[in-house]
Amino acid sequence: MACMNTDEKSGKTSESMYAYTPGLKIKRYTEVVKVRKLPLKGKVLVNLGDVLSYDDTVAKTTVLGDPVFVKCSQILDVEPEELMRYVVVDEKDFVKKDDVLAKYEALFGLLKKQVCSPIDGVVESISGLTGQIIVRGDPKPVEINAYIPGKIVDVMPEEGAVVETSATFIQGIFGIGGEKHGKLKVLVESPEEVLTEEAISDEEKGCVIIGGSEVTPAALKHAMDVGVTGVVVGGVEHSCLVEFLGREIGVGITGEEDIPMSLIITEGFGRMTMSRKTFNLLKQFEGHTACINGSTQIRAGVMRPEIIIPRQEESESSSEVEISAGIMPGTQVRIIAEPYFGAIGKVTILPVDLQEIETESAVRVLDVELEDGEIIQVPRANVEIIEE
């Protein structure tokens, strides 16, 4: 709902609900809930209250095998409607690879032709209209694991379950690669430092490694070679991502890449100093196991990549902060567009009237006092709230 703010200069009020961009979540201690759902109905293997580890299976099912079209009438050189005379199997029969499906003999057996099944499977249909037999391959098993260690707090019969854990939770801005876990290792001294190849050794096998402002292409390749499961850095050059992935990314929907290592950037493209808060949290929990997911979806229903550091054994007050009030004077924000990209400060004024900026656009702006005391004016659309 709209939140009314007062412009200190004019005393007018403004609605701020349309102004703020919710920031990325960086929570020191919070409850993380993950819905683990099958793509199709199946069997749930856990019960309410069960305590699971990362790789424990929550539910499993099978998906239909791939169908294969066998163009029988074409191979036998008969009309489609004649096919039924030569078929030697029935629908729903199990067949093995190379089993005969249909055969044709003429001239007292001198002229022989036959069609065999190309796969193991079940005869799904025999069509006198198309002259085709469809053999359906064996069903494929599909399993979903817990991803995060935690307790089952809800079970959805035939569909899956909900896992809950206490954790440190950090969202990135963009990532690639799916769900992974590994021990956190910070390989740079500061969030400004670039992660290079030299910093990565064989000891990082199976780890989630943390860099600073950027990762070099050579470092990414080396990390993959030694078997690192995840890389978290502030930024990455576009060309480096292209080199790593072997292709350009066109739309911001990722997570399905067939790569053994996930990459998460926390700030943006280019060299970007990692937010100090993010860096300090990751540094503090070095040695802990982190669950990461590079999947990103930049569309309505946005999904950001995440770093979850489970802390089941510990207890701390939750750092959940209600931010529904939107931006107000005093709100801490990060600037997310040039020319002040990455700068952090406190909102001082939210002028009501539209202001003309350098481009001559009349936009809603706000004044931000940066950490060094400088006050700058930026479009409201170009800041995000720092959620703590």
Binding site: Y18, T21, P39, L40, K41, L64, D66, P67, V68, F69, P80, E124, S125, S127, L129, T130, G131, Q132, I134, R136, I173, F174, E237, H238, S239, E248, I249, G250, V251, G252, G268, F269, G270, T296, I298, R299, A300, G301, I336, A337, E338, P339, F341, I357, E358, T359, E360, S361, V363, V378, P379, A381, N382, E384
Partner: protein, 613 residues
């Protein structure tokens, strides 16, 4: 179906909304002294996603903003419905909406021959406002297993199956039908959703098709899309898609069941509304029209050429969500060729990727605005390139070639000839929000490259979809609002086709201005400039192209014509067609700077500083 509470003549207030994927936009219209006008706009975030999962919340918020701005109450006391009709105090006489929330209508299309029935089916689905996820055909070059894998991954909202002329092939249609059924496509809207399938193929096999799709599909059979080879009949399929969109797709989307009860006419996909508005222009002016809807995720191109309407959608060309894909498709060099300053490929790529991952940011510096305008030119250019592959002559029809055709290299793919396009119209956030109207004008000119004499229009505050859906029941109101408040007349561009030498004169124009004065302008090759001529004003002109240059009357031939003014005026474009941009970087940058300067495109002082961000 329309359920009017009042006769059209008695209406005084109309509300129209567009439920977009990120923003719901309300537009409020009022009739004063027999004329319909746009009153005010209200906008709010769309609420189709969790935690809201009810689009009417976003509609309500957008309408509340309209209420606050006008003091006119539209919602009921409990806020749970729109009051219809206007009762003398509050409410509206008509409420209608378009929608593209949740990704719009996503369809898969199948036919037998790629360039015949599959192409016609594609045109029908696009014309109905769908995003076509894939076009399958027996001869599309993919193996069966590849097609099956694709169908299983697609998760469409609806399928259109065509194939065979009436009494023609049945075998291949059965094969495509088999392919669809065995793939068991999973609908995007959940496992309980019965996937709608429109069959518009060979009528002789309808019984078999009915049996084939009796389970798991909501089948609708309509007239064949290609009853005979030389006839394309897309209208029945298009209508069926709209009906199924309402009955199945919309009714499964969160909150739409309620929204459907609020509206007086069927909800229409946003691009279909936009397309109606473009058709509206063509009908009213009786001219050939080319239009673009340049969005954040998609670029829709519309053409109405010699009465034939075609829409194309490039689902991954857009200015925010899909901006990185424009970079990918166009290549960095095609984007930077529009920049009058140096910017490294890496900086361009990083900036556009940052725009993609944070789609709502706006350019604060002029340099970034100019970069976005460069991307817009390329998005439209690529979208138009795609459009021309759809706006084609009917394939499979024997064409009688003349001797001249044999001297031409081949029959041209598209029937769209820029020389015969009379009007170009643009809509979408980037165009509407351009700080100077001449910026959107030049983006449209550079991207489409009109030839001869072409009028240029633009949507003022994004209400073409609203007026498109309104035009289906109240065309007079829609036209009055469109004419007065929606359609900005930017001006008329004169652009001779042909290529010459820089700084050599290629045409002159003699203008009799509305105040009775006469002026003559000479335009050199590589030059663009403009003459102020206000909205609604006309000037009689004699355009005199030099040898080798054509404005529609043949190379070197004069054209006498009445030119219409606009917010910018008459644009004299001597940059050649195809438009010539020098490859040599310094020459290119200096020429671009000249164009920007002569068109007064950007603020002069800030322009001098670009490159210093």
């Amino acid at each position: 179906m329309a359920h009017m509470k009042k006769h059209l003549d008695e209406m005084q207030y109309i509300l129209a909304t567009d439920v977009g994927s990120t923003t719901t936009k309300a537009r409020f219209f009022h009739k004063t002294e027999e004329t319909w006008r746009f009153l005010v706009a209200g906008e709010a975030p769309t609420t189709v996603e969790a935690p809201y999962e009810d689009v009417t919340l976003g509609v309500r918020n957008a309408v509340r903003e309209v209420e606050e701005l006008t003091g006119h109450q539209i919602l009921s006391e409990d806020g749970d419905r729109i009051v219809v009709p206007y009762d003398g105090k509050g409410g509206v006489d008509l409420y209608c909406t378009t929608s593209s929330a949740g990704g719009g209508l996503q369809m898969m299309v199948a036919g037998v021959i790629k360039t015949i029935t599959a192409e016609s089916a594609n045109r029908a689905a696009l014309g109905a406002g769908a995003i076509v996820m894939d076009v399958m055909a027996v001869d599309d070059g993919r193996e069966d297993y590849e097609k099956i894998k694709r169908v299983r991954n697609l998760r469409p909202d609806m399928i259109l199956l065509a194939g065979g002329t009436d009494g023609g092939t049945d075998l291949h249609v059965f094969q495509m039908a088999d392919l669809i059924t065995v793939s068991k496509p999973r609908p995007r809207l959940g496992v309980s959703y019965e996937l709608p399938l429109v069959y518009a193929g060979n009528k002789n096999i309808r019984d078999h098709i009915s049996t084939k799709f009796s389970e798991d599909f909501a089948l609708k059979i309509v007239d064949n899309i290609r009853p005979v080879l030389d006839q394309e009949n897309t209208e029945p399929a298009r209508r069926a898609i709209h009906e199924l969109f309402m009955e199945h797709v919309m009714s499964h989307a969160p909150g739409y069941d309620k929204l459907m009860k609020w509206t007086n006419i069927d909800i229409m996909p946003t691009p279909a509304g936009e397309g109606m508005a473009m058709q509206f222009i063509a009908e009213r002016y009786k001219m050939n029209v080319l239009g673009v809807g340049l969005g954040g995720a998609t670029t829709n191109i519309y053409s109405i050429f010699d009465g034939r309407f075609v829409r194309s959608v490039s689902a991954n060309l857009g200015m925010s969500y899909s901006v990185a894909n424009v970079l990918k498709e166009a290549g960095t060099e095609n984007i930077t060729r529009w920049l009058p300053f140096d910017l490294s490929d890496e900086v361009v790529a990083n900036r556009l990727m940052n725009k993609m991952i944070r789609p709502t940011i706006i350019p604060q510096k002029l340099e970034i605005l100019i970069l976005e305008h460069a991307v817009a030119r390329e998005a439209i250019r690529l979208g138009f390139q795609h459009h021309k592959t759809i706006a084609t002559r009917l394939k499979g029809v024997q064409v009688t070639r003349t001797v001249d055709d044999y001297f031409e290299q081949a029959l041209e793919e598209t029937y769209i000839k820029m020389m015969n396009i009379d009007i170009i119209a643009g809509t979408g956030g980037l165009l509407s929000h351009a700080p100077r109207r001449r910026q959107s004008l030049l983006i449209l000119i550079d991207a489409f490259q009109p030839e001869g004499v072409t009028r240029m229009f633009q949507d003022s505050v994004f209400m073409m979809p609203h007026l498109g859906v309104l035009s289906t029941v109240h065309p007079d109101a829609a036209w009055q609002i469109f004419n007065k408040d929606c359609c900005l007349r930017l001006g008329t561009v004169i652009a001779p086709s042909g290529i010459g030498k820089l700084k050599s004169e290629i045409f002159s124009v003699e203008l009799k201005m509305p105040d009775g004065t006469t002026r003559t302008e000479h335009v050199d090759f590589g030059q663009i400039t403009y003459i102020e001529l206000g909205v609604g004003q006309e000037a009689n002109a004699i355009i005199n192209p030099r040898k080798g240059f054509d404005v529609g009357t043949g190379p070197g031939h004069k054209l006498s014509i009445s030119l219409t003014g606009g917010e910018v005026g008459i644009i004299l474009d001597g940059r050649g067609r195809p438009l010539q941009i020098p490859e040599e970087p310094e020459l290119r940058k200096s020429l671009l700077m000249d164009w920007f300067d002569s068109m007064n495109l950007y603020p002069t002082n800030a322009l001098k500083m670009v490159g210093d961000v």
